[in-house]
């Protein structure tokens, strides 16, 4: 490895005037330093001006952070780098700005809800209690939520699943296009509108009173498009070769779908359904219109007003005294724990059951 190509200086270009590779750069700790300085300035200015709100201090600090970053970089490096650094700092600030309220939300709910949340709270209703009294529990609401969400799932999951099968395996032409379009439209329906529809149709139209079932119908309407969308995605991930392999063996199409396509994507489908369940569990508005609320245990979803977890939180909040606010937080924590559990479980299944293409 010694040979060099003959290199005669026949092509006499002017000496290359390439930009120097090395240039002045800020030390690596500079962003942290700038952050500290601006945080300090933010607190200082906030204190000096006598603003009580920490929100202002934070905003001032964030603005200073971006401005100082730009100034220092433009001075030491160049304008292009300065723009890059500003983008970086703005994005970090975005992250910080968003994290604060979201962390606060989680922390407040957990710390204030944990005060009351125990076995007693989960196993008792509000029966026989005056509004100002301490104690009481969430059992009736938990029961109501489970029943309403269960019924909604029983309605929505099969319809949603079959619709997705139709769209992916059979659908083409005008009907399929219409279904696709209206599934999209349905995804955007505000939950209160779904509630109003059932109210107009079931209560005002057919004359039934409030019941868990009425609420479940509204929840089912909200759940269907979510199930269709997620199932559709999962079915589309099933490679076509699998279908063809099965069809080529002489298996009829419906059996191919049932025995090959759906089992391949069952993990993803389950995840989708569970996420949809988690979503409707937290819906308050339609339940408020249709289930009405009840302080007593009503185990029958088909007759009479029931309670549900989100509705319980709302009603206790509205009472507005110290004891009821505590109950509202505890109810909120119960609800959030339930929803998060469903979410984690669903994602767990997705990861565990993921076919090569699924998940992620």
């Amino acid at each position: 490895m010694s040979n060099t190509v003959l290199e005669k200086p026949q092509v006499t270009d002017p000496p290359p005037s390439s930009p120097a590779l090395a240039r002045r750069r800020l030390p690596r700790w500079s962003p942290i330093a700038v952050a500290l300085v601006s945080a300090g300035l933010g607190i200082g200015i906030g204190n000096a001006a006598g603003w009580q709100s920490r929100i202002q201090w934070g905003l001032i600090g964030a603005l200073l952070f971006v401005a100082i970053t730009y100034g220092v970089t433009a001075l030491v490096e160049d304008r292009r780098q300065a723009r890059d650094k500003v983008a970086t700092s703005v994005i970090w600030v975005c992250f910080a700005v968003a994290v604060v309220p979201l962390v606060s939300l989680a922390w407040t709910t957990i710390s204030r809800g944990a005060k009351l949340l125990d076995g007693y709270f989960l196993s008792h209703s509000m029966g026989g209690m005056t509004n100002l009294e301490e104690g009481g529990g969430v059992y009736h609401a938990l029961l109501g939520t489970l029943e309403q969400v269960g019924i909604a799932t029983l309605i929505a999951a099969p319809v949603g699943l079959l619709t997705a099968v139709y769209l992916v395996e059979y659908g083409r032409g005008r009907l399929a296009r219409a279904v696709t379009f209206f599934v999209d439209v349905m995804t955007g329906i505000p939950s209160i509108v779904a509630g109003l529809f059932v109210l107009a149709f079931w209560n005002l139209g057919l004359g039934f009173g409030p019941s868990g079932f009425a609420g479940a119908m509204a929840l089912a309407i909200l759940m269907m498009p979510v199930v269709v969308r997620s199932t559709e995605e999962m079915l589309k991930l099933v490679p076509n070769e699998l279908r063809e392999a099965s069809l080529a063996l002489g298996v009829p199409k419906w059996l191919t779908i049932l025995k090959v396509v759906i089992p391949t994507s069952i993990g993803g489908i389950t995840t989708g359904v569970m996420l949809a369940v988690a979503r409707i569990t937290g819906e308050t508005a339609p339940v408020m219109l249709l289930v009405f609320g009840n302080t007593l245990i009503n185990p029958n979803p088909f007759s009479g007003a029931q309670e549900s977890l989100p509705l319980y939180v709302w009603n206790q909040y509205k009472l507005g005294n110290a004891a009821s606010i505590d109950r509202a937080w505890a109810g909120a924590l119960t609800l959030i724990a339930f929803v998060m559990l469903l979410n984690l479980l669903a994602r767990g299944i997705a990861r565990w059951k993921a076919p090569k293409a699924g998940g992620r």
Binding site: M1, N3, T4, V5, E7, V11, D13, P16, L21, R25
Partner: protein, 258 residues
């Protein structure tokens, strides 16, 4: 404008995996150097360490020295952005920016560097497209999207984009592997033209191509799957293909393995 590259003791990692191990070589200015070797031997990884693109891959890390004339690309004050501006790259799959027109694609690098004057942009775009042997084919549709071109034209567009910023070195990572034979021939002709101005390094799977276009050839190999790739030898292309000094090279070139 072309510079030589001297690599010494270069090792590249993906996370904790050692992809290439202790490579030292020189790349001569105004010449074409080809990297050949079996799949997975690290020749593409090595190529990407030459303009600090390797560290863009998550977990990518490099030890060692790459000297461009007298500057170490991995020196403490060196800005990877300036490195990539100085050492251009053409990728395996043609990747013109799909949201930009042909003109904007070629001008993209210049615009990034603050060139805004319409006249100068026009001149450079024309010069670069001519340099990439593409001007005659696209001069009437400069404002059409680049994605409407054929694969070979797209690749030449990418070459035009790379040479528009007047780099010192041009790295090509299997530039013809996604192209048909006729487009490949066009690119090979282009490489022969370009070497009068640029230092060119090309990774290729195709040994005939290496023999056709390159002045020097480096052969890479790996002991086993999972082992790091190593440089076996580098020499004049003619010698590598007629009388290599290492047995493994001869085996690979004559098709006895790999």
């Amino acid at each position: 404008m072309a510079k030589r590259i001297d690599v010494s003791g270069l090792t590249a990692f993906y996370g904790s995996h050692r992809a290439i191990d202790d490579i030292s070589m020189s790349v001569e200015p105004r010449s074409v150097t080809a990297f050949i070797g079996p799949s997975g031997c690290g020749k593409s990884t090595f190529l990407r360490t030459l303009n600090r693109m390797h560290e863009v891959t998550p977990g990518g890390r490099v030890d060692g020295k790459v000297m461009l004339d007298s500057e170490d690309l991995y020196g403490p004050q060196v800005d990877p952005v300036s490195v990539r501006r100085t050492i251009g790259m053409v990728f395996q799959r043609p990747n013109p920016f799909p949201t930009m027109s042909i003109y904007d694609n070629v001008a993209a690098g210049l615009r990034l560097n603050g060139q805004k004057k319409k006249r100068e942009l026009d001149e450079t775009v024309e010069r670069s497209l001519k340099g990439a042997n593409l001007w005659n084919e696209v001069k009437d549709r400069l404002n059409k999207p680049g994605s409407g071109l054929s694969g070979g034209q797209q690749q030449r567009l990418c070459i035009a984009r790379a040479i528009a910023v007047e780099p010192q070195v041009l790295l090509m990572d299997e530039p013809c592997s996604a192209l048909d034979p006729i487009s490949t021939l066009a690119i090979e002709d282009l490489i022969a033209d370009l070497k009068s101005k640029f230092t060119i390094v090309i990774v290729t799977h195709n040994m005939q191509q290496a023999a056709r276009v390159s002045d020097r050839t480096a052969f890479f190999n790996l002991a086993a799957v999972g082992e790091p790739g190593k440089l076996i030898e580098i020499d004049d292309t003619e010698r590598i293909f007629s009388n290599p000094s290492v047995q493994a090279t001869e085996d690979y070139i004559s098709g006895r393995f790999g």
